[in-house]
């Protein structure tokens, strides 16, 4: 048992750090470090830089053009990117659909789709949730009827994150309504430029356009876009859910944001300043303990994955705790600014905005982020669903 990374791992980390320092555009990391608005160009620029290096699919095996890193290397890469202020990679392509295509897709699908995902050129979206099926994913109603060499897709998806930029979308669709819910679902890849696809924005409580409704009105999808077998989609969906691992805890970002919280508290005079506030300091200290504990839990999982000697079934715990911590640091940053977090100046979240701030510039995005981050305990399997899963591991 050893807490320290091996010399090889440390060298790997140093390489990554150097590379990121050289390649991550400063204007992008500035936005990330100050929680300013990231646009499509920011996200895609970074994706393409990673892609060029073969790292946009940093968890991919060599055979599909990935670096073939092990769990620890993947973690170190994610950590270095996060601490340096890289944007989170939009996961729908490289993290979500790609592993499914690798595991269950045809050779043709792999050759057609994986390169565009790795390069960052093709933007993927996720079509899982529907208005009636949130936690109850198996109740999807979007129909795909086979007519000759096409599926005719009708229905509606929702909560499609950044779907307004999407080139392609992977969807769970119902191909057999006559069997029990899980058995009649298929996994379909749909070109979002197909006629009949409509994307309608959903404005979130912070005023941002981040998610969408996607409507399918007699959309024709070639049968070669079916992944794996018809009516086996539920299996692939579960595989995908199980695939996301430690990164769901997002502890690296939490460490970066804790540093930002301390900077803000310091600038507000609450930490070592003229209005030093022991109560507020204690709240940060408690959060710091929570983050260290979460990081240790993540490292335990990494170690278990690497050695294969233990099985640690704590994915639900990582999601719950990670999301709670995300909400907590946004909350504390907002509370640090207090009254100066209350103004809503939409433009103030743009980098380089020249207008007058209310209070310090760092105050502008704090409440928006707090509001935005309420989603973290809801999406990706709500924390209530995660608690069901955790309880199952303890109680059967």
């Amino acid at each position: 048992m050893d807490l320290n990374f091996t010399p090889e791992e440390q060298a790997f980390r140093a390489d990554i750090r150097r590379w990121v320092a050289e390649h991550l555009p400063k204007d992008i990391s500035h936005k990330v470090h100050n929680a300013l608005r990231l646009n499509k160009d920011d996200l895609q620029r970074w994706a393409r830089i990673l892609g060029k290096q073969g790292w946009h699919g940093w968890a991919w095996p060599r055979q599909f053009g990935g670096p073939g890193w092990n769990a620890v290397q993947r973690h170190l890469f994610e950590e270095e990117c996060a601490l340096a202020g890289a944007p989170r990679v939009v996961p729908f392509g490289p993290v979500m659909v790609a592993p499914v295509i690798m595991a269950f897709g045809s050779r043709e699908q792999q050759e057609r789709h994986l390169p565009g995902i790795m390069s960052g050129d093709v933007w993927w979206s996720q079509g899982y949730s529907e208005p009636g099926s949130g936690s109850d994913l198996a109740s999807v109603k979007t129909r795909a009827e086979k007519r000759g060499d096409k599926y005719i897709v009708n229905g509606q998806k929702t909560w499609t994150t950044l779907g307004q930029y999407g080139d392609w979308i992977f969807c769970l669709v119902r191909t057999d309504p006559s069997v029990k819910p899980q058995a009649g679902i298929s996994f379909l890849l749909i070109d979002m430029k197909s006629p009949g696809v409509t994307v309608r924005p959903i404005i979130m409580l912070d005023g941002e356009h981040e998610v969408n409704e996607v409507f399918f009105d007699n959309v024709e999808v070639p049968v070669e876009n079916l992944v794996g077998e018809e009516n086996k989609g539920w299996t692939y969906a579960k595989y995908l859910l199980a695939h996301e691992r430690t990164n769901i805890a997002d502890v690296n970002r939490a460490k970066r944001e804790l540093e930002r919280l301390k900077r803000i508290a310091r600038a507000e005079g609450l930490l070592g300043g003229y209005r030093e506030d022991a109560r507020f300091r204690d709240q940060i200290a408690l959060l710091e303990v929570d983050i260290v504990a979460l990081e240790m839990m993540v490292l335990r999982v990494l170690s278990a994955e690497s050695s294969g000697k233990q099985s640690l079934d704590v994915a639900g715990l990582l999601k719950i705790r990670g999301s709670e911590i995300q909400q907590r640091y946004t909350e504390l940053m907002m509370l640090a600014a207090g009254p100066y977090a209350t103004p809503f100046i939409h433009e103030a979240m743009e980098a380089g905005w020249q207008g007058d701030h209310v209070g310090a510039a760092h105050c502008a995005p704090l409440a928006s982020h707090y509001f935005n981050y309420r989603k973290t305990t809801i999406y990706g399997g709500s924390n209530e669903v995660q608690r069901n899963i955790v309880a199952q591991t303890v109680l059967g």
């Binding site: 209005r275 709240q283 509370l335 100046i345 007058d356 924390n383």
Partner: protein
Amino acid sequence: MDFDFTEDQNSLRDAVRRYVDKDYSFEQRRAIVRAGGFSRAVWDGLAGLGLTALAVPEAHGGLGFGPVEAMVVMEELGRGLVMEPYAQGGLVAPAVLAQADDAVQGDWLPRIAGGEALVVLAHQERRARYRLDLCDTLATADHRLTGLKSVVPAGDAADAFIVPARAGGADAGIALYLVAKDAAGVALRGYALHDGSRAAELTLQDTPATLLVGPARGLAVLEHAVDIAIAAQAAEAVGAMDRFVALTAEYLNTRKQFGVAIASFQALRHRMADIKMQLELARSMSYFATLKLGEPAEARRRAVSQAKVQLGQAMRFVGQQCTQLHGGIGVTDEYVGSHYFKRLTLMEMQYGDTLHHLGEVSRRMQDTAGVFA
């Protein structure tokens, strides 16, 4: 001891609720938000109900009602998410102005009562955070003010401001002044808050002002004014939470997952019980703050801080959990629930957050405890 409302109070509540239901629907509110966050028509409507006269002494054309009536009104305004600063213009301003000399009272109070003048407290300063005794705005001996006040409610719609300033240098006591909107050296920069309401930065540059309360009593009157605001806000929060909880209960009974209404899941039911607990504790402490407003300063301040600690916890828990129980729809702009959440969130950061008031309770702790301690 009696917690029943009188018939008059119930009539007042009904009148406000009818107005809100009719003239402050979610769609109407949206339109006000789009237009900047303050509606003079709504202010006139509140005046039409007599609300702007409610706390003004009868001698000056008001109704001379007390804190309980104010609480009743605030609960209903909270329920309807009314953004116009009634607590500020209708309750706090008359209370402060009633401490000024007769000429000032006669000049302003009738206009406040009639709804013609909107006067708001402009006390927030950058260095002060939640402390009222930190004030960097300075006043000369002939009442000319220089300084910056932040997040002034409906600042660019107001007609005048009540401004605390140090009377005669950085070490002097705090006096309260009245500054007219169109006085020389006044600059206003308006903006929206996250809850859709309106606020402004108020810059004063050698601005002529009228003395309301001298430095001997300025801070004491300011504290009393803020206590009135906190009690009013507590009632507003109770109204807002009460409605948000009802919306959430409705949603849980409507929304189906796995073939059943999600209101049938015990874990969510227990969460709802915890929410109800916070709501009722908050309601209890809203009553407490309101009924203690007439006590001597020390007891009043302690009670108000106790109430704000409870309200702060309740607003956060109820806001967050009702949002969570809604799932995705709860975090969209189009759903009214998210606006309750934002309002409740912002209220915690007005007049001192939970940790600030916990510090006050801690500092003012006595050997005995309880409602009558």
